[in-house]
Structure formats: structure tokens, C-alpha cells
């Protein structure tokens, strides 16, 4: 029986500080975000794979006017946040918040810089959830 590959379990992985992808048993293709069907051969025979959490910055922006969730988390025009697209060392790319950068001079942030995963807690009470982040690699 095929393993269930769900976004729910991806987020459970984040709460356990694991960055989980899916891998097609037939083609070996890796999927992040994890998906249950391999478009190459339409196979649903998948397994979970934990990624190294290492990657590089493909692109980014510094957001001054954020989503309500980010405003609730304390971000605003005076305290902007960075989000970007990170290509993992294993190949696939994903969106994430990028932490620990000097945001006063976004033009100095280097595309291609090495990053490592961080796990971000946001929200209160039942809405509390772990989100995907990256920061400059040590």
C-alpha cells in the first residue's frame, strides 16, 4: 500500500525539526513540497525522505507590508522581514522565511549564499504552528 504523503505530515515533520520530502520509488525523483503522485510516470509509490536542511538562496525580497499573520507576529514597516526561495542541496526549491540577515541594505544580500534550515514557531494557542525558515549557514 502506498505511503500517505500529505502536507499535514510535512508540517508534523517541521514540529519535530525535520525537513521532509517525498521520493518516488519508481523514478527516484525527489519532491519538495512533498507530493503523492510522480508526474513522470503517474506512480503513487512514494517514501518519505528527510533532507539535510542545507541549501542556497535563489531569490528574496524584504517585505514592509506583510500578511496579517506576519503583522500579528510583530512585523511591520519598521521591522520588515525577508522571505525567499531556497534551493536545497538535494535539488528541489521551496519558499521560506530567511532569518538573521541585515535587512537595512537588501542590495547587499547575496543570491547564492549558503543557508541552513531553521524551524520557526508562530501563532498563539491552537493556532501555534511551526513554519519553515532558513538562515545563513554557520
Amino acid at each position: 500500500m502506498a505511503t500517505d504523503i500529505t502536507s499535514y505530515d510535512f508540517y508534523v515533520g517541521l514540529t519535530q525539526h525535520k525537513l521532509m520530502a517525498s521520493r518516488s520509488l519508481s523514478t527516484g525523483q525527489l519532491f519538495l513540497p512533498p507530493r503523492p503522485l510522480d508526474p513522470k510516470d503517474m506512480s503513487t509509490e512514494m517514501e518519505w525522505v528527510e533532507l539535510s536542511g542545507k541549501g542556497k538562496l535563489l531569490t528574496f525580497t524584504v517585505i514592509y507590508v506583510g500578511t496579517s499573520a506576519m503583522i500579528a507576529a510583530g512585523y511591520d514597516r519598521k521591522n520588515p522581514y525577508c522571505v525567499g526561495i531556497v534551493q536545497t542541496d538535494e535539488g528541489p526549491a521551496i519558499s521560506a522565511q530567511i532569518m538573521d540577515l541585515d535587512l537595512s541594505h537588501p542590495e547587499l544580500i547575496q543570491i547564492g549564499m549558503p543557508l541552513e534550515v531553521v524551524y520557526l514557531e508562530r501563532g498563539e494557542g491552537e493556532a501555534k504552528k511551526t513554519f519553515l525558515g532558513f538562515k545563513p549557514a554557520a
Partner: protein
């Protein structure tokens, strides 16, 4: 076997739209009535609206913006079309481009001879942060918006990638906004139909009136480069790189080609239609192009039997200034990486080699998202029929194109029209 062509020809014989703007006391149904009336009045030889057989309406999110679903029958009812079928098409900001395509396919199929295509969006009732959230659900909420990405943020990330790849600067993007506001200043339907310089002078006058320190801006670029005049939204996109939050509606009347001359001697024949889909921005092979736009354009050019060199005027989806630059490359007007330089050189101005967004684009005209695609066709309707007034292109253009993007390019439609 499918031929990739329409089974019979389809023509636009009427087009109307509201002014785009912020209309506190009007809901989308009233806006649609206004667009519908203007469309009827635009039919040169007149039309009996009872001949309309179906309604295809584009709308992104009346659900969130107006707490109203099941919007299509309401629109049909308000313009007196019930009990004819009415369907709402939702593909984010490409909703009415997609509605247009579905209307075209319905007439081409032979099921209908005459259909109404429309677009509506009423966005300004929500506070700004709720508008940001509402638009955000057009991206992947589980894997994109959840990280904090906003729509300005997505396009800003494309701008960052474009600057890195091709050496563009924030000034490159500002030139697009300046050009579109100049065009919009000649369009009475535009929400912000003023040149940037006029907006700058108004701000200066306001500062004097309020006793605030006088800004030192001398040029449009001074104003656009200053946080006080043009605050950052998502670096490198500033406020004047972003299309506004808008209310508006647009309506188009489509008939089978053989009936077109009954309604006007100058119909716009739909010679090409293309549409494509894609995954999330982070899943794509490129961040400096929108692959769905290239695929939709290829389909539309092939069907029309024309190349980009035949396109005399184009309305492209400039939801952000970077988006117009990428659009002009994806459509083939300029090679990858050269659209920014072309914009800086004035090639996309009304006097340039490839006039883009003569209406003022979404930037100046406004972006009521579900109405924008049908709004674009209104400009092509005017330009190809020689009725665009002060902003009319010279040379009697006869072939025009619209390019309407949903999300960051999860959807794109391209349409090509010819006046015969």
C-alpha cells in the same frame, strides 16, 4: 483529431467598462450594470440584449471581498439575462481573460451565437491587510503564503532575480511606472490617471498646506526614489511599482463571425487564443520569465498565424512594473534580459517600436483583479477601431494582443484580435 483552431470564427462586436477606482457606495452588481450599458451603447448597429444566450463572468473573490459567492446568476439577473446560463470563472487575476476564452470556445463550438463576457471585482471595502490576505490565497497557501510571502513579495522576488541575472536597477522598474502613468493621464477610465510629475506636485502642495518640510524632489525619478514619496512595499518593489487596489467591471459582446457585420462594420475578430497553467513560483525552472505566458503566447500566435512582429499594440499584465518587463520578453517583443533596457529606451511608449499598455495598464488604470482581463480588451477595441482619443496610436493599427496573468503565472491567457 483536435486541430488547435476554432471550429468557427468569433468576433467582438461590443465592449464597455466602468471607470476603475474606489467606489464606496457601489457593489460589483451595480458596476457590472454600468459596464453592460456601456457595452450595449458601443454596438454600432445596435443589439437586442435578449439575443444574448449565456454569460461568462470572471471574478476572483467576491467571496472574500463582498461575502458573496454564486455571483454569476446575480450578475445575469441584474442585467436582465435570466434564465440564460451564467457561469463564474476563477483563475485569480486572469479570471476574465479565462472567461473570455470560455466565451470564445462556447461560440466557436456552435452551441451559442452570442454570449456576454464580463469581469467584476469590488476590492476596496476590505482594510488593506485583509486585501493582502485575500490576494494571497491566489498563491499556494500551504507552501508559499504561509511563509509570509505577499503578492508584491512574489513579484519583488522575480525583480531581485531579474536584477541579479541582467543588471537591471530599481530605476529600470520606475521607468515602466512613469510610462504607464503618462498613458493613463490620457484615459478617463483610469483610477490614477495622472502623470507621476502631477502626483509629485500635488504632494508638494499638500506638504506646504500642512506646514510640513518641503520635499526636494525635482524630477519624477527623485520622487520615485525617495521613501517619503514612494515607500517600500517589498524590496525592490515600491508603492509606485504596484498596481492599486480597485473596484471595477468590464463587459464584452461576442458573436459568431458570420453574424458580426449585423452589429458593426468594424468587428474585432478573435484570431488567436492561448492559455496555460503552472505550479508555484518556487517550483519553476526560471524566476525571470513566466513559462505559462510563453506557452499561452505560442498557442495564440500559432492559431492566429501571426508572429510578434505583426502585433501593433498590446495590453500586458503589469500588476507590478517588473511584470510588464517580463511580459514583453515572454511575448517575444524583446529577447530575454533586454525588456528592461527596452523600457528604459522608450521602446514601449506610445511613440516606441512596441507600444505597451497604452491604456495606462493595471498600474495607472487600476486592477480590479477579476475585471482586468476584460478591461484590457476594451483598450484593444478602442485602439484597433481608432477611437482611443488622445492616446490613439497612429498608423491605423489592425492587430492587437492581450496578456492576462493569474497569480505569479499559475495561469496565463493570451488573445490576439484583428480588425478586418
Amino acid at each position: 483529431m483536435a486541430q488547435g483552431k476554432l471550429s468557427r470564427g468569433v468576433a467582438v462586436v461590443g465592449a464597455g467598462m466602468t471607470k476603475f477606482g474606489s467606489f464606496r457606495c457601489k457593489t460589483s452588481r451595480e458596476l457590472f450594470v454600468t459596464a453592460f450599458q456601456e457595452m450595449l451603447a458601443s454596438v454600432d448597429k445596435g443589439v437586442d440584449p435578449k439575443q444574448i444566450e449565456a454569460l461568462f463572468i470572471g471574478n476572483f473573490s467576491s467571496d472574500l471581498f463582498e461575502t458573496q459567492s454564486h455571483t454569476a446568476p446575480i450578475m445575469a439577473d441584474w442585467v436582465g439575462l435570466t434564465p440564460r446560463p451564467a457561469v463564474r470563472l476563477e483563475d485569480a487575476c486572469a479570471s476574465s481573460g479565462v472567461a473570455l476564452r470560455q466565451g470564445i470556445l462556447a461560440v466557436a463550438s456552435g452551441v451559442y451565437d452570442m454570449v456576454l463576457v464580463g469581469g467584476i471585482e469590488k476590492m476596496t471595502d476590505l482594510p488593506g491587510d485583509k486585501v493582502t490576505d485575500a490576494l494571497g490565497i491566489a498563491a499556494d497557501t500551504i507552501y508559499e503564503t504561509s511563509t509570509g510571502f505577499t503578492f508584491p513579495g512574489f513579484y519583488a522576488s522575480m525583480a531581485t532575480a531579474y536584477m541579479h541575472a541582467y543588471g537591471a536597477t530599481p530605476q529600470t522598474f520606475m521607468k515602466v511606472g512613469m510610462k504607464n502613468h503618462e498613458n493613463g493621464s490620457l484615459n478617463d477610465k483610469a483610477q490614477f490617471g495622472q502623470r507621476i510629475s502631477a502626483i509629485m506636485e500635488a504632494r508638494k502642495a499638500s506638504a506646504v498646506k500642512k506646514g510640513l518640510p518641503m520635499p526636494t524632489w525635482q524630477t519624477e525619478l527623485d520622487f520615485l526614489s525617495d521613501d517619503r514619496g514612494n515607500p517600500m512595499v517589498a524590496w525592490p518593489m515600491r508603492l509606485f511599482d504596484c498596481s492599486p487596489v480597485s473596484d471595477g467591471a468590464a463587459a464584452l459582446l461576442l458573436v459568431s463571425e458570420e453574424l458580426a457585420r449585423n452589429f458593426t462594420d468594424a468587428p474585432l475578430h478573435v484570431i488567436g487564443t492561448g492559455q496555460a497553467s503552472d505550479g508555484a513560483l518556487h517550483s519553476r525552472s526560471t524566476l525571470t520569465s513566466i513559462p505559462a505566458a510563453r506557452a499561452a503566447a505560442q498557442e495564440a500566435y500559432r492559431m492566429a498565424g501571426v508572429t510578434v512582429n505583426d502585433i501593433q499594440v498590446a495590453e500586458v499584465h503589469d500588476c507590478f512594473t517588473i511584470a510588464e518587463i517580463i511580459a514583453t520578453e515572454d511575448l517575444g517583443f524583446f529577447a530575454p534580459g533586454t525588456g528592461g533596457k527596452a523600457a528604459e529606451a522608450g521602446e514601449t511608449a506610445r511613440t516606441g517600436s512596441h507600444p505597451i499598455n497604452t491604456s495606462g495598464g493595471l498600474k495607472s488604470k487600476g486592477h480590479p483583479v477579476g475585471a482586468s482581463g476584460a478591461g484590457q480588451v476594451n483598450e484593444i477595441w478602442k485602439q484597433l477601431r481608432g477611437t482611443a482619443g488622445e492616446r490613439q496610436l497612429p498608423g491605423n493599427p489592425s492587430i492587437g494582443l492581450t496578456h492576462n496573468v493569474g497569480g505569479t503565472g499559475q495561469t496565463c491567457t493570451v488573445h490576439i484580435f484583428e480588425r478586418r
